[in-house]
Symmetry: C2
């Protein structure tokens, strides 16, 4: 019996998944600390910049599942593992198996910088490679391996690119062109993850989303794509724990 421990920084929910391929899904969130990226606009920088260090607890899979039940009782059957980058955790398969054993579906989001065998066990896997505005560089050879591996195994996964500006949009086009058979999501970026005025933020987010919709609608290079906002930011602003 394995007893790996995972660096859990937040457990919350149930709430709605605000973005991507399972947008609107009632889900619990487990947020893991640690990331191999340092995106300029990261909305969860506390997972890697040291500011959330005191919140990190090293929990076993069983302890995590217990905590989910303590918090949410019998109100959920879906869990989202987020980060940070949970793909840094080679033994996360233990948690996924335990969740599946209790009839809980598992979604996960990662940037696609690291492959893990347990990707094949995720029910809805979102690969979110980072555009130029993030300041990060995509390792295409790794992303190729991940997309090919998931495609070959006919897994339910999608690509999602956050777009802030024209350069990001060009990056999104190159991703969609390279992996044209993979379900593709464009997401309007949150231009100010520190804004505390909910109404100001809401209108900023709406404008950004409208702009992205207009760009994609007029383009023949984006056809079979989805364009989405981050619903949780529209609803709850930049608050943590939603």
């Amino acid at each position: 019996m394995d007893h790996s421990r995972f660096p859990v920084i937040e457990v919350f929910g149930p709430t709605v998944q605000g973005e991507g391929m399972v947008i609107g899904q009632k889900t619990m969130f487990i947020r893991m600390a640690g990331c191999d990226y340092r995106c300029s606009w990261c909305d969860s920088a506390f997972t890697w910049d040291g500011s959330g260090k005191a919140d990190i607890r090293m929990l076993s899979a069983a302890e995590i599942v217990d905590e989910l039940r303590t918090i949410a009782g019998d109100t959920f059957s879906h869990v989202t593992v987020s980060g940070g980058n949970p793909a840094l955790l080679p033994r996360l398969g233990e948690l996924i198996s335990l969740l599946h054993a209790s009839g809980t579906a598992v979604a996960l989001e990662t940037q696609g910088s690291i492959w893990q065998e347990w990707f094949l066990d995720i029910d809805e896997l979102t690969l979110s490679p980072k555009p130029p505005s993030s300041g990060m560089t995509t390792d295409w050879s790794v992303l190729d391996v991940i997309v090919d591996g998931l495609t070959d195994e006919r897994r339910s996964f999608s690509l999602k690119v956050v777009v802030f500006d024209e350069a990001d949009l060009a990056y999104a086009r190159s991703i969609h062109h390279r992996y044209t058979a993979t379900p593709f999501y464009l997401q309007a970026g949150n231009g100010d993850v520190r804004e505390q005025d909910g109404n100001l933020l809401l209108h900023m987010l709406l404008d950004k989303y409208k702009w992205l919709v207009e760009q994609v609608m007029s383009s023949a290079e984006f056809k079979n794509v989805r364009v989405l906002p981050q619903l949780h930011a529209w609803l709850w602003g930049n608050k943590r724990g939603y």
Copy 2:
């Protein structure tokens, strides 16, 4: 060769699908006139109350496909057929075949009051039975036949219930309980389809959505469900043609 004609009242796009199982999808809309229902809060009452009569054109499948290309050129590969209730059209399969022949996917929404064989050819079919606030009554025997037929053929479809109040929520519970294996969407209703002040409407819609999210999150009877708003109403208010 068939040359059925269909009562087209609007063709527009590309725009984003604002709701349901393909929320965010870049799509063209074809809206058909005529409905067997008269929902109290219908946001497209012009399709059946006589007010849009002058806009109805009887078009063949080929004419519809031509018009899509005239309007949108090569910018789309997905079409949504809406209404009214397009299930009133027994020969709609001709249009679906022609769209598929040009590599275009077809989504369709209907209330589930009438079965058509061509339901099996729709790529994403949304069944949206109407809750008490609509003033309509569900014929459960028909809905059973439709859900069973689509389930047996393993088609991609979902159930979606618009919720305005507690009674609607109870109706949504009964739908989800009856068809528990079918992907289930709850949608926050648009409480005022005539409000022209975009900002006022936006905050009304946000409040309605938040209320619905809270109801569903705390309930053990809703687990594997999705809760969504109507993005198009958030973006463009009650304007037609979006």
